[in-house]
Symmetry: C2
Subunit: 354 residues, 2 copies
């Protein structure tokens, strides 16, 4: 049985730490683990299956002898280092947006479109966290009834903005509870100029703005969804639009997903049944018992939770649902490690010679 | 000049206290103010224009000699006491949902449909807080371009659930920051059986569930919007649907409003201009300056703040906007007192003889 040398790039971050624990439990024979991070984090010691491993600074040479890279160190780092890793023979599963829309990079949700892994060229992209949970919930509905339109509003947890933003929000909450002025140096995004408090507030900006008034996060949800559902073919068959809002939640994105199916035989009951029958999805949908998905309950879980499924009685074929998932696990680390499991299962941990 | 005896019913609540301060600044000649509340709150002392007023227990006899009642004491209290007030000659502006959908009760947003006050029968209803800010923002667009569809997702502040729920959420936040288990006895609504923490969480339930899987809050947004826009005529001309979510914010509801206009000459620029030109609306919409509405900034203000206006390029005539307002002022006390100002202005503070 082949055993793999696995490198985790960005090992000290919020997602990186979850990549380690997900890899510990994964169906992947691991010969050796390398933990890579920025120079600043090099020398830190982390555990893998009870063994202490020293974090090394990530350089192109770090990837010599590595079979598989799980990457979550930010777009610029991926852009710079992953081609170097591929050059050295490593297959990379990347959590950043750096390569997602590249034509030769498969954008994969296991259970949805992992058959596309067969055609990888060394880099495989993990979709954006908000995209993953929405498409995971919609995909079996899409298969059964078709989809013509998706309108989504997100309620996104602060951990999606990284550990520093997360800490900032908690400090702001404590300051506000103490009657003090909250400070903001990072949120809504460190990549932009102005910063606002998020605690007890709502920020309708995730990532930077595009020229058309949409944020890059909204753009990602729209274009990634089309790429995953239609594999770059006929993506005009579906209308997708989004508004992304950051909310003062630690872990767990919520989404109100309004969707229109093509086959009007669809019903709330049939959709509920489809959700129940799909691996990785959990139906939490019983108004009589006040059962519906909540971030506090979804945090720490790998599943995508779906509830509040209702028909829009005035619009034939249109339905609402409320989707919640742990953005660090389902929306990032779990999806990445599941992609790696698929690669191992299908013997695809090799860089094809073009 | 006629001077009015004004009673505030529910004077000690979160909205009641704002009714007092709004009335202090209103264009209403006040002869006397009576502050009414439950037996439990009777005897408390509150200020009106620097004078101390003792809160009295609300009974049917409290309304003898009262011209105008501003009511925000809960649906059951309104149901019981307002007909008694009307019997005694008082005109009532009610903040609860008790009478909103009654055929002979005007449902009023000043500046939108206050001309309907002329036909009141003693009780005038203030719409639901989430309805007011959405319809206030949509109405001038509706007048100019028509509307065929509205799909709204709300991000509603805890203060809309009352002072006790608000305090509960703050305590939960402190407990979670201290690493303790949060307690929940009220939220999502004291009227239901199960209770969940709201701090650092999202609760997709506001008010109780109807049989069709929608919550009563969602039902209110749908039916009140149709009643206000179409005055009970032709309300099938517009499709309205909603998902209402409680978020851990103290004051200020957010709403992602997706709407489809009839006249496809509409553009983002034209809509922005309409918002700018409408009294009571404030356009905060400049992505290049990261300018958009936020609850922390809207709290304490009477205006409705509108931003993130964008076209859905794949759906002709469809647009997004993000609407934020102080749910206790714009969504309750300010609207109520503005209705009372309209009644005074138009000399309508009299109960018609049927």
């Amino acid at each position: 049985m082949r055993e793999y040398v696995v490198a985790i790039l960005g090992a000290t971050g919020a997602v990186g730490q979850r990549l380690i624990s997900e890899l510990e439990q994964a169906n992947i024979p691991v010969k050796q683990v390398k933990l890579l991070a920025s120079k600043r984090s090099a020398g830190k010691k982390l555990q893998f299956k009870g063994r202490e491993i020293t974090v090394e600074e990530a350089t192109p040479e770090s990837f010599t002898g590595v079979d598989l890279v799980l990457s979550s160190a930010g777009g610029a780092v991926s852009q710079k280092l992953l081609p170097e890793a591929v050059k050295r023979g490593a297959v990379c599963v990347d959590n950043t947006s750096a390569f997602r829309m590249d034509d030769d990079v498969p954008l994969i949700i296991p259970g949805v479109n992992d058959e596309q892994l067969a055609h990888h060229h060394g880099i495989i992209a993990n979709p954006n966290c908000s995209t993953i949970q929405m498409v995971a919930a919609l995909y079996p509905i899409f298969q059964r009834f078709g989809l013509s339109q998706i309108i989504v509003s997100t309620y996104q947890a602060v951990s999606g903005a990284g550990k520093a933003a997360w800490d900032e929000m908690l400090q702001q909450a404590q300051d506000l509870l103490n009657g003090q002025q909250p400070q903001a140096q990072i949120l809504p995004t460190g990549a932009d100029r102005k910063h606002y408090p998020l605690a007890f507030n709502l920020l309708p900006q995730i990532d930077v703005f595009e020229n058309d008034g949409y944020t890059h996060e909204e753009w990602k949800m729209i274009h990634e969804t089309k790429k995953i559902l239609f594999n770059d073919q006929d993506s005009s068959q579906i209308k997708v639009t989004a508004t992304c809002v950051r909310v003062p939640v630690e872990i767990g994105h919520g989404e109100t997903v309004y969707f229109v199916v093509k086959d009007h035989a669809a019903s709330v009951k049939a959709i509920q049944q489809i959700i129940t029958q799909t691996a990785g999805l959990v139906l939490q949908d019983d108004p009589s018992k006040q059962l519906y998905p909540q971030p506090l309950q979804a945090a720490g879980k790998r599943e995508t939770f779906v509830g509040r499924i209702r028909a829009d009685e005035e619009n034939a074929g249109a339905f609402h649902m409320w989707v919640v998932a742990d953005n660090l696990l389902r929306g990032a680390a779990s999806n990445t490690v599941e992609i790696a499991e698929c690669l191992v299962r299908d013997n695809l941990v090799r860089v094809p010679q073009d």
